[in-house]
């Protein structure tokens, strides 16, 4: 599964994209796995209310299932316009 990061999430984690092997059932499960890995992930995911997630380029929620999903994106609230 591909994971992509944007803005300060990308900066804290230190990379824009990575591929992970995971059995996580929901986005929240995936976050728990990532946070357990290294301090920089814990820092990036410290406050989930400050984060947004997209599954295969569609905005989603942290309790959404990951079945069939190919790309997960984490980023701060968007500031377009």
């Amino acid at each position: 599964m591909d994971i992509v990061y944007f803005a300060w999430v990308r900066e804290r984690i230190g990379l824009p994209r990575e591929t992970v092997e995971t059995e996580a059932v929901t986005v929240a499960d995936l976050v728990t796995e990532l946070v357990a890995r290294e301090e920089r992930y814990a820092a990036a995911f410290a406050d989930l209310s400050a984060l947004r997630v997209a599954l295969d380029q569609e905005l989603s929620e942290f309790d959404a299932p990951l079945a069939g999903v190919r790309e997960v994106a984490f980023f701060p609230p968007m500031t377009g316009g």
Partner: protein, 151 residues
Amino acid sequence: MQVRVQQERFDLGAESEAFAAGAAAAAGAGGIVTFTGVVRDAEGGGLAAMEIEHYPAMTQKALEQIASEAMQRWSLADALVIHRYGRLVPGEKIMMVAAAARHRKDAFEAAEFLMDYLKSRAPFWKKEILHSGAAGWVQAKTSDEDALERW
């Protein structure tokens, strides 16, 4: 309906003229509203540049969804969204939207709807780079999120 995500500058005058000409040719478009966003100085001043990051695989699709919804909700004659990414300096145009409709109220509402959704639902992130070298991500405003409740 047209949606463009691009690094290059766009010509507001040429875009406005072309959009108005197309909308006028379409039956019944009596009013055209445009909104143009310009890079303004940072809150405390001293902005050197604004860097706009986006999510290439998602951006075009997200903007098209927003524009399609506007087209349907207000029976627009036409709609246009142009949004830039990359490094911009103060005074440069960031983006524009345009909406054409039979009645002015629809054109105004659709343009405001497009802007409100672009602000909080289109995958762009802005970073302010100051002359001092300091840099910081622009924070989403609660008021921008609240603006969505109107629709």
